[in-house]
Symmetry: C2
Subunit: 251 residues, 2 copies
């Protein structure tokens, strides 16, 4: 491989199965996506290369299309980059696309908004083959009521009540949710949430609250109350991680 | 729970994700489906209960509808049996149905035939979320040629060449394959095989050989040669376990 004088910035779109990862971000004594990718880059470069993702994902959460960037002194084609990464990575990470981008591209700072999908299975039947990729709730759900709640969450709000108390986010917790859609099929409801930024556990608290409203354990009023009081406790449960997919990052 | 004087025989239909199992049958120092079910029955009965399945499955092979039976002195309804088993089992085993059956029902001996499905992904794209549930072959496959090969495998033959050399099956290796069908979609070929009995690795050798014929690494003549010589080496590869599902046991 040729080492060029200048550094090339690479934008990478990747998918991962979050089941066996303790989330994206490197931490001590835990298997993380970032660690596996940086190990792969170390093998390719024989030197440490740091990656920057659009954001982290929690333990057990999946990505269909996470985006990251890194800088390399190596001069490879985009398809050779894809191959080099894929062959050195474990099989629960998939490199979907590699693009050479200008030096000022930044995977996190340039992201305009992100779309998450959350998959809820509401039929009585347990699906053993999808247990790591959906949340199985056995209640009947009132989808109309859930759609009404979703429409109240859309827009620009202080989302303090919708974040884990252990959140790392400091400062302003105002975010804009552009859109929440519920797609219903025979056995599933898919909640699709697009917004300009997300606090820790925010999508999972939105989904858990929608399910609690759909199953009548909470009523619609809790949404307005949460925005008024900033109190996490007025909302519903935090949906489990395995139903959540980082679906798309828009630039 | 009431212990009745007599034993009740129970027929159980179950699904399991084979990924984290070393196959069905109990073995030392390995996690198996049988062991988990017998541990669950031990919890329910406070005594050892032996189960009898329609047959074993290999390490990594899945079941959509395995069937087993056992005898119990406990007097539970069918739905309470289902609940008692499900709540004491790990989440990669799913109890689909429990039926009280006459004392002479036998899950293995009464099985008329079995259907397996094998899922092959032939597109270039790797699907990280289905990596444990399909075989990703990157070649273009000649489905017409594979169908021709499948039609030659159908029927009653000595299947010695189609079994692992380490097979436990002694004696006659004549089996009848009633039907092999290939279902094609955009990114997948599903091979469905129904027969009255299967030798060790038989479905995986059939599928591996079909794929080698479809990708021109083997030619059609190898099937007839295998039946004439009983030589495993004239056939194709053994397909990996994760694409294989025990789909249905017919009584």
């Amino acid at each position: 491989m040729v080492r060029s004088q200048t550094m090339q910035r690479l934008k990478v779109q990747l998918a991962y199965d979050g089941t066996l990862f303790s989330g994206f971000q490197v931490q001590v004594n835990a298997r993380t996506v970032q660690e596996e990718i940086e190990k792969s880059l170390m093998k390719i470069h024989q030197q440490a290369i740091r990656i920057y993702a659009s954001g982290r994902t929690d333990s057990g959460v999946h990505a269909r299309a996470q985006v990251m960037h890194f800088d390399s002194p190596l001069d490879l084609t985009e398809s050779n980059w894809q191959r080099a990464l894929q062959t050195t990575l474990p099989n629960d990470i998939s490199i979907e696309k590699v693009e050479k981008v200008p030096q000022d591209f930044h995977a996190r700072k340039d992201a305009l908004d992100k779309t998450y999908r959350y998959i809820i299975r509401f039929s009585d039947d347990y699906d053993v083959f999808n247990r790591n990729y959906e949340w199985h709730v056995r209640q009947r759900l009132d989808i109309k009521e859930m759609r009404e709640a979703a429409s109240q969450i859309q827009g620009t709000h202080d989302f303090t009540a919708f974040s884990a108390s252990k959140t790392n986010v400091k400062g302003d917790k105002t975010r804009t949710i552009h859109n929440i859609e519920l797609h219903e099929s025979d056995e599933h409801v898919v909640v699709e949430v697009t917004g300009d930024g997300f606090l820790t556990h925010m999508v999972r608290i939105i989904v858990g609250t929608l399910v609690d409203i759909g199953s009548k354990r909470k009523n619609l009023q809790c949404i307005q109350e949460a925005f008024e009081t900033n109190d996490r406790r007025v909302l519903g449960q935090t949906a489990p991680p395995q139903g959540l997919f980082l679906w798309k990052v828009n630039y």
